[in-house]
């Protein structure tokens, strides 16, 4: 501390603000996690492995993280297009469309789940259309992907949008003057500038999607070995008063999410370095 005080800092009161930050993070994030790990630890290694190593859990993880990945990939494409349109063009109703993007943030997820299920159920407006083609959406893993696309869209759009706003169109003009074609401009000029923001958005969207419960349980059908998500299994274990089993699953999900986020961060760092060198 004495060392820090001696150093010059543009932020006055570093000690105080760091103290507040640590206190707040502990209270809101670290202590709850510690309790979670404490509960899971009560199961012991054997109990932990027994709780997670079975076909239903494995399949639910596959469904949860698989559907999240698909939803995020789809959103990366359409979120980017949406952000592009909102930043680069002016058109009537733009402000309203911009406001719509945040709706999935604001809506209680159960409401979203019920609305989507009503729409995509075999007797629903869109569901009946697909049903006539022989495609079922609600009560299948496809339904889960749709719900996850819905809830994770804002993360991509809202992270890409400000970066895109700062990206100068002059760069593209310069590339054109230097003889680049449209694909080259996108691949070599625009995309590298947006990639960090896209990755951040994708990471947040993925984390959000993997933990989603409220909207998914309505549309999933929850059939074991088909459309059952891990958060539902956690709820089921709680319902059985199996606290340790539930926390074991929660810790497993947390570790997987953490690994995925770590991986994305590493890609981010590698990407920054590469672009820095160019």
């Amino acid at each position: 501390m004495t060392l820090l005080k001696k150093q010059y800092s543009v932020l006055p009161g570093f000690g105080v603000t760091l103290g507040i930050t640590l206190f707040w993070l502990s209270l809101i994030v670290l202590i709850p996690f510690a309790v979670l790990f404490g509960w899971a630890a009560q199961a012991g290694v054997d109990g932990f492995l027994k709780a997670i190593l079975n076909d239903r859990v494995m399949h639910s993880l596959y469904v949860t993280f698989g559907a999240s990945l698909i939803a995020v990939l789809i959103n990366v494409v359409f979120g980017l297009v949406t952000a592009w349109v909102l930043v680069r063009y002016t058109f009537p109703g733009k402000k309203i469309i911009d406001a719509f993007i945040d709706l999935p943030f604001a809506l209680p997820t159960a409401v979203a789940g019920i609305a989507l299920t009503t729409l995509y159920a075999p007797n629903g407006l869109l569901g009946s259309l697909f049903a006539s083609l022989g495609i079922r959406i609600a009560y299948t893993p496809t339904g889960i992907v749709i719900a996850l696309i819905f809830i994770s869209l804002p993360f991509i759009v809202r992270t890409v949008q400000p970066v895109l706003e700062d990206l100068e169109p002059e760069l593209e003009d310069a590339a054109t003057c230097l003889g680049a074609n449209r694909w080259q401009i996108f691949a070599k000029v625009i995309f590298p500038a947006l990639a960090p923001a896209l990755l951040t958005g994708a990471a947040m969207a993925f984390a959000r999607a993997a933990g989603e419960y409220g909207s998914v349980i309505f549309i999933a059908g929850n059939i074991p070995m088909l459309s059952e998500i891990t958060p539902l299994l956690i709820t089921a274990k709680l319902e059985q008063s199996d606290y340790t089993g539930a926390t074991a699953l929660a810790v497993l999900m947390l570790m997987i999410s953490f690994l995925v986020l770590l991986l994305i961060n590493l890609v981010q760092r590698w990407n920054n370095k590469r672009n820095g060198m160019n």
């Binding site: 074991p224 319902e239 059985q240 008063s241």
Partner: protein, 338 residues
């Protein structure tokens, strides 16, 4: 002013202040918290209104009863974790057992404190089918006919769904020549006819009634009546199977809480009130079967007679839970072995 009138005035003032003092010592403001499960909202609303009025007439105390409703398992967990409920009125005995076992806020002998294993009213599991019963569903065996879709919630997350499951199991076990294996096979067939496993009973009712999915809904009798009378008038028929389960949603006093708050007397009176003909009639009105034998005839007009078995016949909740719903138990097995 005479001596007498002055005396009279003084005495009457004294008398008035005495009565006020006495009634202040007596009339209290009391509150009770009843933590219950989902579909009992309307039932307890009506019962609470009458009980608080009677309690005030009897004791002069102003009683307010607060209700909390939610899934039976999660409600039990809240009370276990410290929600100060004076009484619990839940869907399954095992939920109350869990409180008695974990936090010990309810004494272990709760089941013997009130009549009929502390169950004031009962219900059963019936089939709700579409008007005219187009698929001809009469009994449990018809549920696994090739083109029949069955709607029932997930027994892992829904207390009500465990009654459905156990009723199906008991029927299969009661068939001539049935074995444990054949009963399991029946359950496996049955659940392969379930296209949506909602997490709660109300969710299943919605799937069946609103989304028009499935041919038959396995439901609590009171929910089936409610769906028939209110949600979709004239769209559904109730089919009573040959054998079903006697669903006994129990009640208990939360000992630790009433002792702390000094509400044992009123809490006991409240739960005993549930057994009076007056409360039992309200139960009938809300489509629960009364336990008071003097009302059997009255109830018989509404509820068809059917053969039932109770959870005790399956060895009690703990045994049934261990055998069917624990991790890796029968319900998990029927989905895993393809």
């Amino acid at each position: 002013m005479t001596f007498f009138s002055a005396l009279f005035r003084n005495v009457s003032i004294a008398a008035i202040s005495l009565t006020t003092a006495l009634s202040a010592a007596h009339a209290k403001d009391l509150t009770l918290l009843n933590v219950s499960y989902d579909p009992t909202r309307e039932l307890y609303q009506e019962i609470d209104g009458i009980f608080t009025r009677q309690w005030q007439e009897k004791t002069g105390d102003k009683l307010t009863i607060k209700q909390s409703h939610g899934g039976s398992g999660s409600q039990a967990r809240s009370v276990d974790n410290g929600l100060d409920a004076d009484v619990v009125t839940l869907a399954l005995a095992i939920d109350i057992n869990n409180i008695a076992r974990k936090s010990k806020r309810i004494n272990a002998d709760w089941e013997t404190r009130f009549p009929h294993n502390s169950t004031p009213f009962t219900s059963t599991i019936v089939f709700l089918v579409r008007k005219g019963n187009p698929k001809g569903i009469r009994d449990w065996g018809d549920l696994i006919k090739p083109d029949v879709q069955v709607i029932t919630p997930n027994p892992k997350t829904s207390g009500g769904a465990r009654w459905n499951y156990l009723a199906a199991y008991a029927w299969a076990k009661a068939q001539p020549g049935a074995t444990e294996e054949s009963a399991k096979q029946y359950l496996k067939d049955l659940y392969s006819h379930v296209p949506v496993l909602d997490s709660g009973a109300r969710g299943s009712t919605l799937t069946f009634v609103q989304r028009q999915i499935g041919d038959v809904l396995l439901a609590w009798e009171n929910e089936a009546f409610l769906a028939q009378k209110e949600l979709g008038k004239g769209q559904f028929d109730i089919v009573v199977p040959s054998l079903s389960v006697l669903a006994e949603p129990p009640v208990a006093i939360v000992d630790k809480v009433v002792d702390k708050r000094g509400t044992r007397e009123v809490a006991s009176a409240y739960l005993n009130f549930l057994y009076t003909p007056e409360a039992q009639r309200i139960a009938i009105k809300n489509f629960y079967r009364p336990t008071d034998p003097s009302l059997a005839e009255e109830a018989g007009k509404l509820f068809p007679a059917l053969k039932t078995f109770s959870i005790a016949d399956l060895g009690g909740w703990d045994a049934a839970n261990q055998k069917h719903f624990a991790d890796g138990a029968v319900f998990d097995q029927i989905y895993l072995k393809k």
